[in-house]
Amino acid sequence: MVVGLLVVGGLVVASLFVGQYDIFGAEDGAQMFAITRIPRTIALVLAGAAMAMCGLVMQMITQNRFVEPTTTGTTEWAGLGLLLVMIVAPGSPLVVKMIVAVITAFIGTSIFFAFLQRITLRSSVIVPIVGIMLGAVVGAVSTFIALQTDMLQSLGIWFAGSFTGIIQGKYEPLLVVIVVVVAVFVAADRFTAAGLGEEFSTNIGLDYRAVVLLGTGLIAIATGIVTVVVGNLPFLGLIVPNIVSMFRGDDLRSNLPWVALTGIALVTVCDLLGRTIIAPFEVPVSLILAVVGAVVFIALIVRRS
């Protein structure tokens, strides 16, 4: 754990000091540092931890290792909500966009869970396929609406998850996800029990539906906010919990710090890569995550079967 903290700490510091602007040489270096580097790094930490933990909670609730907000349509729903706000009320403040995105993410996730209950064949691969299909449908609807309203480009920019535009004044809403992170920690045992099934939960006196509802709400809040502020961070919630589970099993309470740390580390590494490989330009972090994530996802499926 100490080693893990040190590694993540090192990455965070690296994130603070990597970039084109010479923060030591230039006269307004300290100011630039405060305006861009610190917000960006805070955003990396919060988004990484929150999305990884959401993936874990979702995997517990569905009892499936292959789901996370981007393979179940949750992010697409949040995107759709965001698009609707941009069309209906283009000048709305960030808070309104976030709230709408959270609501649509909640609706979408609930639809996915409702779908799952009707599917008899709940094999491990079918579940994410259903999710990805749902997401694709919602994504297509979004694209169509965006095409009709000349919003396609804005949609694309919003969706390509990137920390480039995270500066002072834009990242603060992300602080709300701290609440989600804390809530997941508090309810950790409940989610583990839910992961053991409805009958198991009922036996130990838990209201299974309430736990699922709580989980859905937390996932929706985190996904909605991260989607609006940062964009799409594919596969993060998928890779991280699976890696942690391989090494440490699935006791949620003792794993959560690890999931959070690994999530932070992964996003930060991908962002650092994105910032450096074609410097002075940047590659969106979502692109790198998608490449890494897709490889790990396939490796996991192959390993299982």
């Binding site: 517990m60 009892q63 499936n64 290792r65 491990s124 950790a188 045992d189 409940r190 583990t192 029990a193 992961g195 053991l196 099934g197 009958e199 198991f200 009922t202 036996n203 130990i204 006196g205 838990l206 209201d207 589970s245 099993g249 699935d250 006791d251 309470r253």
Partner: protein, 251 residues
């Protein structure tokens, strides 16, 4: 005492469980036996409030299972279902620890840890306690689930075919563990069994079900009678007085 009065669950117009009126005595092991589809598991899951009923009522130690808050019931009854294939990777000790959830709400006290260790020792799982469930054999895993139910420390324990997938040795050991739990810990254990001979040897009471109705209830000596068994199982069954007690012969 577990009391079922006019318990009914309807599937289709032809297929229904009940109406069942039954009193299960406190203490000892009560075995539910009967042919496939007789409604044994359904009845057990209804007593354990995992499934609702269409009519009638069930009380366990005076608590109405459909009205008492689930959280309260979890301190009085525990139920272990037949299929337990978890995706979740937990160690034996973590799983057993969940038995304490109704009492401690997830934050284990020193007392909880002591009870967990006791349950683990009771089922001789000491050496396996830090192993993951998916690394265990079927018999060991089954023992871990039973340890969890014991850690829940309820007066009533309901088990749905705990001998499923166990070989002869492990089946016998499991029944001996349960017998000890009933006598040493004073639990009331209701168990669905497939093999009438296990029921005849280890149970204190046998309740036979057929077509969703109770057709016989009594001590093993009262039930282990050729005519009674043959009628229950639709198979000619002889009962012989073996070296270790009554044995049903159906081959």
């Amino acid at each position: 005492m577990i009391t079922l009065s006019s318990v009914l669950r309807r599937y289709t117009s032809e297929v229904a469980i009940g109406p069942v009126n039954l009193e299960i005595q406190q203490g000892g092991i009560t075995a539910l036996v009967g042919p496939n589809g007789a409604g044994k598991s359904t009845l057990l899951t209804m007593i354990g409030r995992l499934m609702g009923m269409d009519a009638g009522s069930i009380t366990v130690a005076g608590l109405d299972v459909s009205k008492t808050p689930s959280k309260e019931l979890a301190k009085t009854i525990s139920i272990l279902r037949q299929e337990n294939h978890f995706v979740t990777r937990l160690t034996v000790r973590q799983l057993v620890g969940f038995g304490r959830f109704p009492h401690s709400g997830g934050r284990l006290t020193v007392e909880d840890e002591r009870i967990i260790s006791q349950a683990i020792d009771f089922l001789h799982l000491g050496e396996l306690e830090s192993r993951y469930l998916d690394e265990l054999s079927g018999g060991q895993r089954q023992r871990a689930y039973v340890a969890m139910v014991l850690a829940q420390d309820t007066d009533y324990v309901l088990l749905d075919e705990p001998l499923n997938n166990l070989d002869m040795q492990h089946s016998v050991q499991m029944m001996q563990h349960l017998k000890r739990a009933a006598t040493e810990l004073g639990k009331t254990i209701v168990i669905v069994l497939h093999d009438i001979n296990f029921a005849g040897h280890y149970a204190d009471h046998i309740c036979a079900l057929k077509h969703g109705e109770v057709v016989a209830l009594g001590t093993p000596e009262e039930i282990m009678v050729p005519e009674t068994l043959s009628a229950i199982f639709n198979t000619p069954i002889d009962v012989i007085d073996g070296p270790r007690g009554l044995l049903a012969c159906y081959f």
